[in-house]
Symmetry: C2
Subunit: 412 residues, 2 copies
């Protein structure tokens, strides 16, 4: 009953663990796209097509030849003859070419008639009998979503290791991708040790304590996208612990053992684990509080994490040592804080009386965050959600932010 | 094809919505505790017992009468006779009362013998034949977990409206609570409209676009702990839209309709929704960008959210108007950022060469965050996790933080 021989820092302990553990990716399985929420994508997915597949109108209005609208104003409107109307969903091949002096009424999402190169918003036009008066000029490509602007053919849409969120499902659906490969959930086994423990729901007798760490750890394993394997609770007996742990290592890729890790319990669990294989215990006793008696072993490349039987210490041991291994194996980018402050890389303007939601890419550089607003022309651009990792909200009444200004960003 | 008659701010729109929508809680069902991860607790749950049920040792060491250790030091140890040993799990009623001049060897979690009022850590004692030399004095109650210190009988453990996380499962398990009441997942229906749309997986023909907003919205609904009802995709026909929407309102508690909400589509969806009941449309057109054409109706107390057909706008409309209703109905506390900076309400010390994880309660007060470190004596205290909402990490090499100092806290 003496102290740990030597304690290791949490950082060094994790480094040692990651250096020894087998981080081979999980096997992957193909799943229907809509069932993959929260799973981790196992392939780099490239766009098989251009999205949109043709130039289309980003607004309701009038397709025009931009240079014909030059100088238009409410007092000096420019009249164009109306050559029909095109709705979203119409076959672009059936849409007639536009001639000079003409405009075509177009709805949001409608294919842009050949020859037209811009769309005047409905608000800036007055429809008359067979004609339309344009009251504001447009530049070439204004209010047009270009072919391939959201995703161009061959472009990387989702990287291997991405945890699938709703916008990833939206982006892949827009490409008509119905199935993707995801990693099979990693199995993580939990074994509890302790003569004093009873299982949740068992009749309680004096001196006995309900094993609350195991249900908590199983829930943590689920939250990390893994499948828990419950190895039950065993008494403080070295043979039983070794046998049950050995079974667990056959069924699972990682093993958590709670209890029996403090020096007072006679090193029961470390001794049992040492029997299982090589290299065995790689650290035991960490310079943290609580959770000092946390330890880890490697058996044939698999991590065995020795956690305190106390729930709070078990939680901290899990977060420090089990979670990073799970993340590495899934190749999933590590969690960023949900909200960061960073410097804008370029100016952002906000129209009066409007709240704008600007999709941005937050990059960490030299210890500070840079906030890069994504260029965008339409609210249909799913790529701004898969390329963006944050939203900058510019509230009503704020005219915008200057380049270099510090802004707060909500991360996706 | 003109602009919206009047636009409303996002804040006012949400206020109007929350003032009209029926926020009655969902029906509740009893579920096995271990299956409730991520669900919302429907009852205030009070502790049926004291945890721990008796005073117990928080460390491995020697139970003593504290005043007998006064003045002990390595050069001047105080010798006590050993009167046996108590392990965790032993029946407290079978543990003998301690007499003056005696110590009892105790393991972490062991019942404290009657008469003893403190525990000397093993590191501060030297075991000899039939006796133990104490080298450091202890104060009364030192290294003792008091009966009811984690949860006292009758104490509120989890509040109605709490979304169940792993530590809640741990806390309830420690009370041997095997089933709890949770809210039934709220059903949210999604109907997509648009002649140009095809369903995910359908053969694509020129001009047609895959409906990517619906799979994304269904995933968002799932992420918010609700059950999506897929009402399919219908063309731009007012009767079909009205009929399908009406079916949706029978099956679900909220209805999302995508597309047909911009003015150019002839107000198809608003007109269809107006047929369904009273009071009908409560706003249409919001001063935000993108997602300006977002609208909402109330039909018999149920919210119908009119979302743009464009995925990014649909996402923003969902987050602004559907998510807050779901949160209110579940009575779930609104999401805080994951990491905050706040002022410490009292001093926190850190032993040398140790990284400490301090459970704290973060409170928002007058626009700033206050960080209140929770008192704690043992790493077994689950209550520090259910009462705490954050962890303050004090790294190795940092001696601590002063009262009033600003610290960064990781929220749970």
């Amino acid at each position: 009953m003496s102290g740990f021989r030597s304690l290791i820092s949490a950082d060094d302990a994790l480094k040692r663990l990651l250096a020894h553990v087998d981080l081979t990716p999980q096997p992957s399985i193909a799943m229907p796209l809509e069932e993959t929420l929260g799973m981790v994508c196992a392939d780099d997915i490239h766009s098989p097509v251009d999205v949109p597949p043709y130039d289309r109108s980003a607004v309701d209005g009038y397709a025009v030849i931009a240079d014909e609208t030059l100088g238009a104003s409410p007092t000096n409107p420019i009249e164009l003859k109306l050559a029909g109307s095109v709705k979203a969903g119409e076959n672009p091949l059936s849409v007639k070419r536009i001639r000079r002096g003409f405009a075509v009424e177009v709805y949001t999402g409608a294919p842009l008639p050949e020859g037209a190169d811009a769309v005047v918003m409905a608000e800036h036009a007055v429809k008359k009998d067979g004609a339309v008066e344009i009251t504001k000029p447009v530049a070439s490509l204004q209010n047009v979503s270009r072919r391939g602007e959201d995703f161009s053919k061959g472009e990387l849409v989702i990287r291997r290791g991405t945890r699938i969120r709703p916008w990833h499902i939206g982006a892949l659906a827009s490409l008509n991708i119905t199935r993707i490969r995801v990693y099979e959930p990693m199995r993580v086994a939990v074994l509890s040790t302790g003569d004093e423990l009873i299982e949740l729901g068992d009749a309680q007798t004096p001196g006995k304590v309900v094993n609350s760490s195991k249900p908590m750890l199983k829930a943590l394993i689920r939250e990390h996208g893994c499948e828990p394997i419950d190895l039950g609770t065993v008494g403080d007996d070295i043979d039983t612990i070794a046998e049950r742990a050995s079974q667990g290592l056959k069924k699972a890729r990682m093993l958590l053992i709670t209890g029996g890790t403090s020096v007072g319990s006679g090193d029961l669990v470390p001794e049992a684990v040492a029997r299982l294989g090589k290299p065995g215990i790689i650290f035991h006793g960490v310079r943290i509080r609580p959770a000092k008696p946390t330890g880890a072993a490697i058996i044939d490349g698999k991590a065995v994490i020795l956690l305190s039987g106390f729930p709070v210490s078990a939680l901290i041991g899990f977060q420090l040592f089990a979670a990073p291994i799970i993340e590495k194996i899934y190749n999933s980018p590590s969690g960023l804080p949900r909200r960061v402050r960073g410097k804008l890389t370029r100016r952002v303007a906000n129209p009066v009386e409007t709240t704008s939601f600007i999709r941005v890419k937050v990059i960490e550089k030299d210890g500070e965050y840079l906030v890069e607003p994504l260029m965008l022309t339409g609210s249909g651009l799913l790529s701004t959600l898969t390329k963006a990792n944050g939203i900058l909200v510019v509230s009503e009444g704020v005219e915008g932010f200057d380049e270099g200004e510090e802004v707060e960003v909500e991360l996706l």
